[in-house]
């Protein structure tokens, strides 16, 4: 069975402002229940919302960082639904004039290429409160309105993702970008970043394409659970297709919740009951016009974003697209690279070392570059030793592992272990002479024009010197003596 996985994401991000979206209650996490509420966010009779300018600014910054167009005029609308955690019976949201439209971000695709994920829109809205179901045997729920009115961005993507790990990579990329511009801490555990995904399959059979019913997956509270939930869902939809051949046109959209402990998704709402949100423009708030000047000023603040960094790495440093993508997989990694490469004539060599040796070390130990015992300056001193001919690149790899394990400086390690490169020509000449004597066949081969033989002889010289011979010097002497 040939099929393609199709995923689109709706990501909600809480904005880090001092006060809430439409009132002056502190916008912080948690606190005593119902300790951060006022007439406005409680929706008391007669209260009116007043828009926080910092929310607009943060939304524009996020939009610019996601390569979106920023609206010249934007407005708020009321979205009506009934739920006890929604105190007014409507949410102040944006309907037909969102603040940002039409962006995109690039992520590594599952096949190693670059995947461009289009962003349909980014809009502002207010968060709802929280329900708690106490275990006291009473048939009641508790309500805490602290979270009510927290400014949110909803970021809606096109269904451009083609694998569960791409969805996870997409959400991670959003987190990176929004953290980089400082609008949110995007903490999934605390719920400051939440993701719902719409997923279905395109099945290819007898030259035709069939779309399976879309499932909206909720309750994915970590990057791992995004991947696991969607992987489970792919398997489930494959099975469902094989059993029932149910089509999207017939079954429509369902809502499923992910149960992390069991690793499965369960049906929450069957065929989507058309919710009638009765949107209309929020009469308590005026439309907002955003000037070109303001957008330009904020653009300057959207400094080193992943996409912008990648452009620089490729254009200025001659780094491949794939490597640039890997270096910008996290802001910490890109920061590490840039600090290590600062002023270096060949940043590409540093990139190669990082993507090979440093990444290997991090992966083996499942840690991030910010947890590495070697900081960018210590790492650069290691590279400088290679450049100065003190150690070979090969030795540098060992030294790096030592540095990372012990936290010691490169120079201390190579001195301690006697790894300083032999660039005394006499000592190397002696080793070269011995190797020629010990390997007469290879020496003869080279003299007879077998260029390859020099590699073998070189290896022997390095072996004899325990890898410490300056390779350039060694090869020069070898060639001279075999002339």
């Amino acid at each position: 069975m040939k099929y393609e996985v199709v995923i689109g994401c709706e990501v909600h991000v809480q904005l880090q402002t001092r006060s809430k979206a439409f009132c002056r209650c502190p916008n912080t996490f948690g606190g005593e229940p119902n300790s951060r509420v006022c007439p406005v966010c409680m929706g008391l009779p007669g209260s009116l919302p007043v828009t926080n300018s910092a929310m607009i600014e943060a939304a524009i910054l996020a939009g610019l960082a996601l390569d979106c167009d920023i609206a010249g005029v934007t407005k708020f609308d009321r979205k009506h639904y009934v739920y006890p955690d929604l105190p007014k019976g409507y949410q102040i949201s944006q309907f037909d004039m969102p603040i940002c439209t039409g962006g995109h971000i690039d992520i590594p695709a599952s096949d190693g290429s670059l995947r461009r994920v289009r962003i349909i829109r980014v809009h502002m809205e207010e968060d709802a409160g929280k329900n708690i179901h106490p275990d006291d045997g009473r048939s009641v729920s508790y309500l805490d309105y602290n979270r009510c009115g927290t400014p949110l961005l909803e970021i809606v993507s096109e269904p451009d993702l083609r694998a569960p790990q791409e969805a996870s990579a997409y959400v991670q990329a959003i987190r990176e970008i929004l953290r980089a511009v400082g609008v949110s801490d995007c903490n999934m555990e605390e719920g400051s970043l939440r993701c719902d995904a719409n997923i279905n399959l395109w099945v290819y059979e007898d030259g035709k394409k069939y779309a399976t019913p879309i499932a909206e997956i909720k309750n994915m509270n970590s990057f791992r659970s995004i991947r696991n939930a969607l992987e489970y869902e792919v398997k489930r939809q494959v099975r469902e297709w094989e059993q029932s051949r149910l089509l999207l046109e017939v079954a429509g959209k369902t809502t499923r919740g992910y149960l992390e402990a069991k690793g499965i998704t369960v049906l929450q709402r069957a065929k989507e009951e058309a919710s009638d949100y009765r949107y209309f423009p929020e009469p308590d708030l005026k439309p907002i016009s955003i000037s070109r000047e303001m957008i330009d000023a904020l653009k300057a603040r959207v400094g080193a974003l992943p996409a912008e960094r990648r452009r620089r790495y490729i254009g200025e440093y001659g780094i491949t697209e794939q490597d640039a993508l890997n270096l910008t997989s996290s802001a910490a990694m890109a920061d590490f690279f840039e600090a290590a490469a600062a002023g270096h004539p060949e940043p590409k060599r540093i990139s190669n070392f990082i993507l090979a040796e440093v990444k290997k070390y991090l992966n083996q130990r499942s840690i991030g570059v910010d947890e590495l015992a070697v900081d960018a300056r210590a790492f650069r001193r290691l590279i400088d030793l290679v450049d100065a001919g003190k150690i070979s690149g090969k030795i540098a790899k060992e030294v790096f592992v030592d540095m990372a394990d012990t936290g010691k400086d490169a120079l201390a390690i190579i001195e301690e272990k006697g790894l300083i490169q032999i660039d005394n020509s006499d000592a190397i000449a002696q080793a070269v002479d011995e190797v020629i004597v010990e390997n007469p066949d290879s020496a003869a081969d080279y003299k007879n024009g077998k260029e390859k033989a020099i590699g073998f002889l070189m290896g022997q010289v390095m072996k004899k010197t325990k890898g410490k011979a300056n390779p350039a010097m060694a090869i020069q002497l070898l060639r001279a003596k075999l002339k």
Binding site: P45, L48, D276, R278, D284
Partner: protein
């Protein structure tokens, strides 16, 4: 207490009750009267009326501490205090919140609800030293044109107790007319200050949308609502406006800077140079002949005072009631969705689950007119009908705005009757919602265009029923309205 003292105090009461707010202010300043005496006079009037077989029923609560507030004001004055409204008693419609006091919007759903904060307008009046007499009766959530849809029972018109006082600020208007309060705050979403002013024979001002902060006024139609005043004189309207409109309220993004706080004392002005338009649509044969007669007299007065008048045609005025009864219920259905029994107000007992709790709470808590408007509102906003009703109404509202902007290029003010009929009988329209809605034909345009409008007591029918005349201006030209009305008052009052 001996008989003669009581008798003297009754005499004083009668004299004091008839004073305007501005006259009281001068009497207080001159030390001729105390705030406590004023409050007692109004309390006595209210108590006396309560024992009437057909009471006005204008107060839903007379504040037990009103005299205490007055005593404080008197003490403040003795200590050199000179707030602009120091010691002046004012009644407050039951949908404008005063911190710590009940605010119920004459609805069962808000029984027991004690406002945790004060409306901005209340704060400003309080800071100026006003004394709050009590809460005025109203149509539930300000929805109604007759003050019959109140959980406290209907308000009776003091001029004919079998007739309505008009709505929805019927309690406020009736209290001023019955001399149970010298001045009252109301609210006006489609005529709710002006219509009762007209029916009760007092002055009613609906300021421009944005002149007064809406913060703390329980919302009905958010794009139309405005706190308004019911008064015995034009001077009083200006006095309280200058206190209440003191600048933009940071808690209401739709409030605007007007400068009305700096307006000096009212001057009677010559009307020469003023052109006053009379919309033909509002003086048609559909209007009661006795109302037309009063209006004609007013028109003649305008001419005699130097104004030019001319009948103009603004066809879109015929669509205002329809527009209004789409937009206001749409906004109301949204604003009232917060009343669900979860957080405050009244919660129905005995609901077995959450959905039942919502439904029972709202079914028991809301009266018939509120339910009707919630249903209309949800209908015109619901998918499939939004474009045909809500969106269309907003589009025609924008057209109306264009037309009115053009009209105000040619004329300074519009004049019309305030209501197409004199006060109607209690019960006459209560079961015919559409007939009730059509009462608002002359008043809704000002709300839809955010304009200021004023109703003045233009005259009486042969039966002695009050008939109001309405002046409407372009947005924020309250002063022109007040000065024109003041000129009229100086020649006709008394």
């Amino acid at each position: 207490m001996s008989f003669p003292v009581f008798w003297i105090s009754m005499m004083n009461d009668r004299r004091l009750n008839g004073l305007t707010l501005s006259e009281m202010r001068r009497a207080l300043q001159a030390g001729e009267v105390s705030s406590v005496e004023l409050v007692e006079a109004f309390r006595n009037a209210w108590e006396e009326d309560s024992s009437n077989e057909k009471p006005v029923n204008g107060y839903v609560e007379f504040f037990a501490d009103a005299a205490q507030q007055a005593r404080k004001a008197d003490e403040a004055r003795a200590a050199g205090g000179h707030g602009k409204l120091l010691g002046l008693p004012i009644a407050v419609k039951d949908n404008i919140q005063i911190a710590g006091r009940l605010t119920t919007c004459a609805s069962n759903i808000l029984q027991g609800y004690r406002a945790p904060y004060s409306a901005t307008v209340i704060e400003r009046l309080e800071a100026a030293g006003a004394v709050f007499l009590g809460r005025a009766n109203m149509d539930e959530f300000a929805m109604g044109s007759s003050c019959e849809y109140s959980c406290y029972g209907a308000v009776r018109n003091p001029h004919d107790r079998d007739r309505t006082a008009g709505g929805s600020s019927g309690g406020s208007a009736a209290l001023v007319a019955a001399k149970q309060a010298p001045f009252a705050l109301g609210s006006d979403t489609g005529g709710s200050v002006r219509l009762p002013a007209s029916f009760c024979g007092v002055y009613g001002l609906k300021p421009s949308y944005g002149t007064l902060s809406r913060y703390g006024l329980v919302a009905f139609g958010s794009s139309l609502d405005q706190i308004g005043f019911l008064a015995r004189s034009v001077e009083d309207l200006q006095l309280v406006l200058s206190v209440a409109a003191a600048g933009v309220d940071p808690r209401d993004q739709t409030s605007e800077k007007t400068g009305f706080e700096n307006a000096g004392p009212l001057r009677a002005r010559s009307l020469s140079g003023l052109t006053i338009g009379i919309p033909g649509q509002l003086v048609s044969e559909a209007v009661d002949p006795q109302v037309l007669q009063v209006f004609d007299e007013f028109r003649r007065w305008l001419e005699s005072a130097g104004a030019k008048t001319r009948v103009i045609s603004i066809p879109v005025l015929d669509a205002c009631v329809a527009m209004y009864y789409i937009i206001a219920p749409a906004e109301a259905s949204s604003n009232l969705s917060r009343f669900d029994g979860v957080k405050y107000g009244r919660r129905a007992a005995g609901a077995e689950n959450l959905d039942a709790m919502y439904e029972k709470t709202r079914e028991e808590g809301f009266g018939p007119e509120v339910k009707r408007r919630i249903l209309i509102g949800n209908y015109v906003l619901s998918s499939g009908y939004y474009d045909a009703y809500y969106k269309k109404a907003q589009g025609v509202r924008a057209l109306l705005q264009q037309r009115m902007d053009a009209v105000f290029e040619e004329v300074d003010l519009l004049a019309s009757p305030t209501s197409p009929t004199p006060p109607f009988r209690l019960g006459e329209k209560v079961d015919d919602p559409l007939a009730m809605y059509l009462t608002d034909i002359c008043t809704t345009p000002a709300n839809l265009t955010k304009s200021p409008a004023l109703s003045l007591p233009g005259g009486r029918t042969s039966d002695g029923l009050p008939v109001g005349v309405q002046l409407t201006g372009r947005r924020f030209c309250e002063m022109t309205l007040l000065e024109t009305a003041y000129s009229w008052e100086r020649e006709h009052a008394g």
